[in-house]
C-alpha cells in the first residue's frame, strides 16, 4: 500500500512537472491523432472529386454544394461558427470597361487630351473615379525595406497622381539586390498599386521602363470591348473590392511620356541613374497637371470561404489565431464536349486532397479533449484557381485581427507522387515554423523536400505572407494530370494524405500551444 502510495505520488509529481514546463501541450493528444484516418480522407475525396460536383468551379451551384459539405463536417467535428456562420462570403465580378474614360495632361499651359488604347489603357484593378491632381514621379513605385530601397522616401503623394515605372531597379542585372535577374513581387503592378493606395495617392499612372524595354505601348489591361477579335466573355473573374479601396490606374504610352518628360531619353537617363546608384530619383512634377478618369461596370457574383473555429483554452492566448487552410475550388468542366467523353476537371489532387487533409485536421482538433491554448481557424478557400481570391478576400477583411494571426499552414495538392515525401514551402521565410515541422516530422517520418520556392506566390499562403504572417506550405508536386481531365480520385494516395495531415496537425498543435511569436523573414 505504502509502495503504491509512493508510486502514485511520484507519478503525480512527474505529471505536474510535465504540465508545468509545457511539454504536456507540446504533445498532441492521442485521441486527436487517432482521429486522422485514411478512410475518412478517401470518403471526402470521393465526394469532392465526384462528377456530381462538376469540377467545383468558383462560383457555381456545385461549388456551393462542396461548401455545404465542408461546413457540415466542421459542425459535426464540433468546430464553432464564426460570427454565427460557417461561411465567410465575398464577391467576385467580371469587370467591363465603362464608357467614360479620359486622360488629359497639362504642361506649361499646353493641354492634351489622349485617346484610350493608343495613348493610355486602364488596368483591370482600376476604380470608377475621376480625379484631377498634380503629378509626382515615384521612380519604380517600390518600398522595399529589405533591400534598403524606398521610392517614396521623403515624398508627399497624398491626393496626388503618382507616375511609376514598371519592373524594378537592375531588372537585367544579375548582381541586382532585387533578387538578381529574377523579379521580386515589388516588380508587379498590383504591388505598386497597393503601395500607392497605402500612401494616399489619388491615382496611378504606369509607364514601361524605357532603359530595358523597347516597346512603350500602353499595355494596361486588354479590355475586350476595345478589340474586334476578343470576345466579351473572355473577361476574367476578379476579386471585387470596395470602390473606396481603389484608385484609377492606367498605363500610359510614349506620347504621354514625351509630353511629361520632354523626351523618352530624359526618363531613360533617370532610370539608368536609379539603376546605377540604387538610389531613388523621385520628385514632384508640379508643372504637370493630370485629369484621369476611368469607369468600370462590375457584374457581381457571390461566393464564400468556409470557416470553423477551435476556440483556444487559454484566456489570454485564445485571441491569437493559427490558420490551417486549403482551397476547395477547381476549374469546372468543358462546356462544349462530345457525348460520352470525359469533360469534368475533377481536381482530386487539386485540391480535394488538401481540403480532405484540412477536414481530417479539423476532426483531430475537434476530438482533442484538451483544447489548445491559442485558437485555431480551419479554412477552405474559394477562388484560388481564379487568382487566390478567397485568401486575398480574407486577409483584406479578416474575421480575426491579422496582428493576432500567428501562423498559417496551407495544404495544396498533397495526394500524389512518391508515397513518403512532401515538399514544404516557407522554410527559409518562416524558420521557426520550419524547425517545429522538422521536429514533429520525427514522429511521422516523411521525407521533407524544400525546393518549391518557385511556388511561393501560387497558392493561398502567399496572401498571408504578404501580410507578414509566418506560414508553411505543404505540396507533393506537379504531375501529368495537373489541371487536366485525368486528375481523378482513384489516383490519390489517401494514406499519404493522412501522414501529411498528421504532420500539419502536429505543427498546428505546437504552434497553438506556445506563447512564442514566430518569425517571418525574407529569404536570402
Amino acid at each position: 500500500m505504502k509502495i503504491m502510495q509512493k508510486t502514485v505520488t511520484l507519478f503525480l509529481g512527474i505529471a505536474a512537472l510535465f504540465i508545468a514546463d509545457g511539454s504536456f501541450y507540446n504533445t498532441p493528444p492521442r485521441e486527436a491523432l487517432e482521429a486522422i484516418r485514411a478512410g475518412d480522407i478517401r470518403q471526402h475525396i470521393n465526394f469532392l472529386a465526384s462528377d456530381s460536383l462538376k469540377g467545383r468551379n468558383t462560383p457555381s451551384p456545385e461549388f456551393d454544394r462542396a461548401a455545404e459539405y465542408i461546413a457540415d463536417e466542421f459542425k459535426r467535428y464540433g468546430l464553432k461558427p464564426v460570427n454565427g456562420s460557417y461561411f465567410n462570403p465575398f464577391n467576385v465580378s467580371q469587370v467591363q470597361l465603362g464608357k467614360e474614360n479620359a486622360l488629359i495632361v497639362t504642361t506649361a499651359g499646353r493641354e492634351v487630351s489622349y485617346s484610350i488604347k493608343s495613348d493610355f489603357m486602364p488596368f483591370d484593378m482600376t476604380a470608377s473615379k475621376d480625379v484631377t491632381a498634380s503629378l509626382v514621379f515615384a521612380g519604380y513605385g517600390i518600398t522595399a525595406p529589405e533591400y534598403g530601397y524606398d521610392d517614396y522616401a521623403g515624398l508627399e503623394v497624398k491626393g496626388k497622381i503618382v507616375l511609376v515605372m514598371r519592373h524594378e531597379p537592375g531588372e537585367r542585372d544579375p548582381a541586382s539586390p532585387f533578387n538578381g535577374e529574377r523579379e521580386t513581387d515589388h516588380s508587379q503592378v498590383s504591388t505598386k498599386v497597393q503601395n500607392a493606395i497605402d500612401r494616399g495617392a489619388a491615382g496611378l499612372l504606369v509607364i514601361t521602363d524605357p532603359a530595358n524595354h523597347r516597346s512603350l505601348a500602353p499595355r494596361g489591361f486588354p479590355w475586350p470591348s476595345l478589340y474586334e477579335g476578343i470576345p466579351d466573355d473572355a473577361l476574367p473573374l476578379t476579386l471585387s473590392l470596395a470602390e473606396k479601396e481603389k484608385i484609377p490606374v492606367a498605363q500610359v504610352g510614349e506620347t504621354v511620356m514625351q509630353q511629361i518628360f520632354g523626351s523618352v531619353d530624359t526618363l531613360r537617363q533617370w532610370q539608368q541613374q536609379i539603376d546605377l546608384t540604387r538610389k531613388p530619383r523621385s520628385m514632384a512634377l508640379l508643372q504637370v497637371q493630370i485629369r484621369l478618369q476611368t469607369t468600370t461596370n462590375p457584374i457581381l457574383q457571390a461566393t464564400r470561404n468556409v470557416v470553423g473555429l477551435i476556440e483556444g483554452a487559454d484566456p489570454k492566448l485564445k485571441t491569437e489565431i493559427v490558420v490551417v487552410g486549403a482551397h476547395y475550388d477547381h476549374v469546372g468542366y468543358i462546356k462544349q464536349h462530345q457525348e460520352g467523353e470525359d469533360y469534368i476537371y475533377n481536381g482530386a489532387d487539386d485540391n480535394a486532397s488538401g481540403t480532405s487533409a484540412v477536414l481530417a485536421i479539423a476532426k483531430a482538433f475537434g476530438a482533442a479533449r484538451q483544447k489548445p491554448k491559442r485558437s485555431v481557424l480551419l479554412m477552405a478557400f474559394a477562388g484560388e484557381e481564379k487568382g487566390l481570391f478567397g485568401s486575398r478576400a480574407y486577409v483584406e477583411q479578416p474575421l480575426f485581427p491579422l496582428e493576432n494571426t500567428v501562423a498559417m499552414l496551407n495544404l495544396d495538392m498533397v495526394g500524389r507522387n512518391a508515397p513518403d515525401s512532401v515538399s514544404v514551402g516557407g522554410n527559409t521565410r518562416s524558420p521557426d515554423l520550419a524547425k517545429i515541422n522538422e521536429e514533429e516530422n520525427r514522429a511521422v517520418g516523411l521525407q521533407l523536400d524544400y525546393s518549391i520556392e518557385q511556388f511561393h506566390n501560387r497558392s493561398d499562403q502567399y496572401n498571408f505572407a504578404r501580410k507578414q504572417i509566418p506560414f508553411l506550405f505543404y505540396f507533393t508536386g506537379l504531375h501529368a494530370d495537373y489541371h487536366r481531365l485525368g486528375d481523378h480520385a482513384d489516383k490519390i494516395n489517401e494514406n499519404k494524405i493522412a501522414k501529411i495531415a498528421t504532420l500539419a496537425f502536429r505543427v498546428a498543435w505546437r504552434a497553438a500551444n506556445t506563447e512564442q511569436r514566430f518569425r517571418l523573414v525574407e529569404p536570402q
Binding site: 483591370d124 516588380s187 503592378v189 523597347r214 478589340y227 477579335g229 470576345p231 476574367p236 473573374l237 468543358i334
Partner: protein
C-alpha cells in the same frame, strides 16, 4: 503559347532578300537560283517575352542559334523556284517561370525538311511538309509548331538607291482546332551600297507592321488572338551574286490572348525580338 510565338519569330521572321544584278545603278530584283544550289545561314535570335495572367506578370526569354540549310531542287522556265529547307543545327537556351531549359540539336527537329515553291519575285506559292517534326519537352507542352520561314516578296519594277517598295504577306497557320493569320506589311528602301563580309552589298532598310489574328478551340476552351507591332531592320544583299549576306532586325509584338470556356482569361503579352542572320556558305 509564348514558345509557339518564339518559334514563329525565330523561324518565321527570317527574311531572306535576294536580288538580281543591276545596270546603271538600277536593280531588277528577282530570285536567281540554280538547280542543286546550296545556301546556309546562321541565325541568332534573342526573344524577351512578358505576359500578365491573373494580375501577375511573368517574363521569359530565350537565345537561339541555328544553321538553316537550303537546297534548290528546280528552277522552272517561268522562274519559279522549288527548294527544300531544314535545320542543320539548333541550340536554344530558354528562361521561363517554370525553370531554365537548354535544347541542343533536338533529334526531332534537325534535318526535318519542308519543300517550298515560290515565284521569281519571292511570292510563296506552296509549302509542303516532307518530314514530320517532334518538338522536345517544353516546346511541345506549350503548343510549339514546326519551324517555317518565307522569303519576302521583291519589287516587281526596277529600283535604284532611295527607292522603296512595299510587300504584303498573309500566312495562315493551322493550329489544333483553329488557325492564326500572320499578316505583314513591310516597306523596303535601298539606302546605299556597302561592303559586307567581302561582298559588295546593297543596304536595304525595312520597316513595317505585323498583325496577328486567330481563333479556335483547344482542349475544350475557345481561344482568340489579336496583336500587332513594328518590324524593323536592315538587310545586306549582294546584287552581283544575287544572295542575301546578312540581316539585322527587331520586332515588338503586343498581343492579346483570350480564353473562354471553363475558364475566362484575357492575357496581354509583349514580345520583343532581335534577329541577326549571316550567310555562312
Amino acid at each position: 503559347m509564348q514558345l509557339q510565338k518564339l518559334l514563329k519569330v525565330v523561324f518565321g521572321a527570317i527574311m531572306i532578300s535576294l536580288f538580281t544584278g543591276c545596270a546603271g545603278g538600277t536593280y531588277k530584283l528577282a530570285y536567281r537560283m540554280e538547280t542543286n544550289q546550296r545556301l546556309k545561314y546562321k541565325t541568332s535570335m534573342n526573344v524577351q517575352n512578358s505576359m500578365e495572367m491573373q494580375g501577375r506578370e511573368m517574363t521569359s526569354g530565350s537565345d537561339a542559334v541555328s544553321v538553316l540549310r537550303l537546297e534548290v531542287e528546280e528552277v522552272g522556265k517561268d522562274g519559279n523556284v522549288t527548294f527544300v529547307y531544314a535545320l542543320d543545327s539548333l541550340n536554344v537556351t530558354a528562361t521561363t517561370p517554370q525553370g531554365d531549359q537548354i535544347f541542343e540539336n533536338p533529334e526531332g527537329m534537325i534535318g526535318k525538311r519542308t519543300r517550298q515553291i515560290m515565284t521569281a519575285a519571292g511570292k510563296k506559292l506552296k509549302s509542303v511538309v516532307v518530314d514530320s517534326v517532334q518538338l522536345p519537352g517544353l516546346l511541345a507542352q506549350s503548343g510549339g509548331r514546326r519551324p517555317a520561314f518565307s522569303f519576302i516578296e521583291l519589287a516587281e519594277k526596277e529600283v535604284k538607291a532611295g527607292d522603296s517598295w512595299t510587300a504584303s504577306t498573309a500566312d495562315t497557320n493551322a493550329q489544333t482546332g483553329g488557325q492564326i493569320i500572320v499578316a505583314a506589311n513591310t516597306t523596303y528602301t535601298i539606302a546605299g551600297e556597302v561592303d559586307t563580309l567581302g561582298y559588295k552589298c546593297l543596304r536595304i532598310i525595312y520597316s513595317g507592321k505585323i498583325t496577328l489574328t486567330g481563333n479556335g478551340v483547344n482542349m475544350g476552351m475557345n481561344f482568340s488572338i489579336e496583336g500587332e507591332g513594328p518590324n524593323n531592320g536592315t538587310a545586306y544583299f549582294t546584287p552581283k551574286e544575287g544572295m542575301l549576306v546578312a540581316v539585322v532586325g527587331t520586332s515588338d509584338l503586343e498581343t492579346t490572348i483570350a480564353l473562354t470556356g471553363q475558364m475566362s482569361m484575357t492575357i496581354p503579352q509583349s514580345t520583343a525580338s532581335k534577329v541577326a542572320i549571316v550567310l555562312v556558305k
